[in-house]
Symmetry: C2
Subunit: 390 residues, 2 copies
């Protein structure tokens, strides 16, 4: 067993890194390379690595670490300062994709008058589309020297809000899996979890701060923070019936905005990229089936990709317009919010595990990530060039 795992880790680490770097050269996010690596080494193609319990645990720790790191990067202050505009952009940037995603899924999966389970499953396609990832947008705006503008700061804080709202919606849907649990019950659980994690998180934050003051940069501080991440993940699922990633994300938020946050995130990040997150992203690929394609699925998938791009552009753009951004600015906000990466993949993987989504749909989710990360920088640059020409 031990040698088997060593062997699998070697294959996973080499293939994810090589493909990740290759795709990065083509300006496609490294995570896509890791997914493709998983697809390549998994049962679909070469059959070198199969799913197993130990790898699943590694993958689960990987996603928890990713969400924890995302939490620590959440810049609460920026939301407060940019206030109303980013709230409106986020709201429309979540509602429109959610609605259109649900409509498209329903058109292909039995229409609107269906049983509870199918309806939830159709809605889940909407949930996936609510995610955003602004890494590429931020890089592009930086390149254009436009990050410190109204457009740039609004996108940045809308993306933070989007993450928070996205995880809440996902949490509700994971809760809905159990047919005995009503939406009300889930909302109450979430509120309870928020209250408890706010109290515990504030306390943990104070202890961490105190530890850092006494012994800056020591191992005990990082371990303390990481144990908090595990405790929040464990408690969210075990005691509140929510998702472990919800817990990890809120544990991260508890440690955000500290002067030591960067340092902490860096440390957890090393453990994550050295082992856990490659296993996580590869495991999505390993679990992806390339069989079961038919014309219906193909049209569904391509519509999903198109609607995914359009709905976010429209939603966020309308939100910006409502906040008195001019037309050019609104277009840029819409384009900037369009990109998807880690979060949609994590959401999709949960969807597969919970039975909301079929494994054979995963290639289209990956396609949306690839297409959106390809065209976002191109369109954004065009939108700025137009202005200069005018």
């Amino acid at each position: 067993m031990k040698l088997q795992i060593f062997y699998e880790l070697i294959i996973i680490l080499i293939s994810t890194k090589v493909l990740g770097l290759l795709l990065r050269k083509l300006k496609i996010p490294e995570v896509v390379g890791m997914l493709l690596a998983g697809l390549l080494i998994g049962p679909s193609v070469l059959g070198l690595v199969e799913e197993n319990e130990v790898l699943n645990i590694f993958a689960e720790l990987g996603v928890v670490m990713i969400m924890f790191a995302a939490g620590t990067e959440t810049d609460i202050k920026s939301i407060k300062s940019s206030g109303k505009a980013s709230a409106v952009i986020t709201a429309f940037g979540v509602i429109v994709p959610f609605g259109l995603g649900y409509v498209v899924a329903s058109l292909f999966n039995g229409g609107f008058a269906v049983d509870r389970e199918t309806m939830i499953s159709n809605m889940f396609y909407g949930v996936m589309l609510t995610a955003t990832s602004v890494t590429i947008t931020v890089a592009t705006l930086k390149e254009l020297g436009q990050l410190q503008t109204r457009v740039g700061t609004s996108i940045l804080s809308a993306a933070v809000l989007d993450d928070i709202i996205g995880i809440v919606i996902l949490t509700v849907f994971i809760g809905l899996k159990n047919p005995d649990v009503s939406v009300l019950k889930i909302v109450i659980r979430i509120i309870l979890f928020f209250v408890v994690s706010y109290i515990v998180g504030t306390l943990a934050r104070k202890i961490y701060h105190w530890l850092e003051d006494r012994n800056p940069g020591t191992r005990r501080n990082i371990i303390f923070a990481f144990v908090n991440c595990l405790v929040f993940s464990f408690a969210a699922e075990k005691f509140f019936g929510l998702a472990d990633i919800t817990g990890a994300f809120f544990a991260g938020i508890a440690f955000a905005d500290l002067k030591e946050s960067k340092h902490l995130e860096h440390r957890v990040d090393i453990a994550s990229y050295l082992l856990f997150s490659p296993v996580f992203f590869a495991s999505i690929g390993i679990g992806t089936q390339l069989t079961g394609f038919n014309m219906n699925l193909l049209w569904f998938g391509l519509s999903f990709v198109a609607v995914g791009l359009l709905s976010k552009f429209l939603g966020a753009g309308i939100g910006a317009k409502l906040c008195h951004f001019d037309n050019d600015e609104s277009v840029r906000v819409g384009l900037g919010m369009m990109c998807r990466a880690e979060v949609i993949l994590i959401t999709a993987q949960r969807g597969v595990n919970l039975g909301f989504m079929n494994k054979s749909f995963m290639p289209f989710v990956i396609l949306l990530v690839i297409v959106s990360s390809f065209i976002t920088p191109i369109l954004l640059k065009l939108s700025y060039r137009k202005k200069k020409a005018a």
Copy 2:
């Protein structure tokens, strides 16, 4: 399963860190605290955590990372420069403990005329005693301002040699487990492995250096080095019939003495202390049985501790004396080499796994670590005070 592992990791990380820090306040190595934590949370006392496959894999990765880090810290140049003296000190500091350990074990376990298996098992107690750990000695000599003396540098390079010889001896014994394999065969395998790992290691070292030159400090470099560690571990066990830790140690040596070694070791160290090495040391404690004590075992164990201290002091001291160190210096070298920590624990754990040593003997190995780390600094300081008084 996932929640179970999260729960176990939480218990392990908290208990190992708290007990580790407490013992450190008492000047006892943190690893002892981790072992005691394992004992406390394991079936022997509280029964919170039990051995399971996932934890075993974590522990195995932990020990591989520890050995890899030990390899990268191996200062080959210092051995070359201090040359003959440290070689003689190491030789006697290995032979005398090995011999006396074997004698003591034989006295308690059936005498000298026994079957092959019992004899190997008795010799294994000698193997354990060959290990040394100079962390505490180095700290003490630094405090006394005596690290840059002939005594200090000899101890440092003798300790490096001791590590290398120790792992070779352990490798031979792990090979001897299989009754069909002769010592000659094992030695040939080891030599083959050395040749292959020298060639592959030199190549890997060059690639790593080239990677660092092109993109200093990037993730791909660390992952490259870590993959090498896994490949060496895997190959040593799978293709050469040796121990995975032997592979990891030699992979580490391949990356030693580079200007980037510190940086590399630091990165791997983070992943190690955040998760893997606490699980490893705790798992030794979890697997330790506190039952099966009797007077024979007690006397055997206490003799083992006493001989462990005395034999290293005598062996290394005689070695120093033979190299024309004066009496005071020889005493200090002997005292400085006496301390045990990680390596004896790793060796003992392998011994239990292979059936060379009974689980119920583990408490005495731990006792030797505790006693030696307690008295080494005290005696070393006394040996220097005497000089000043004279």
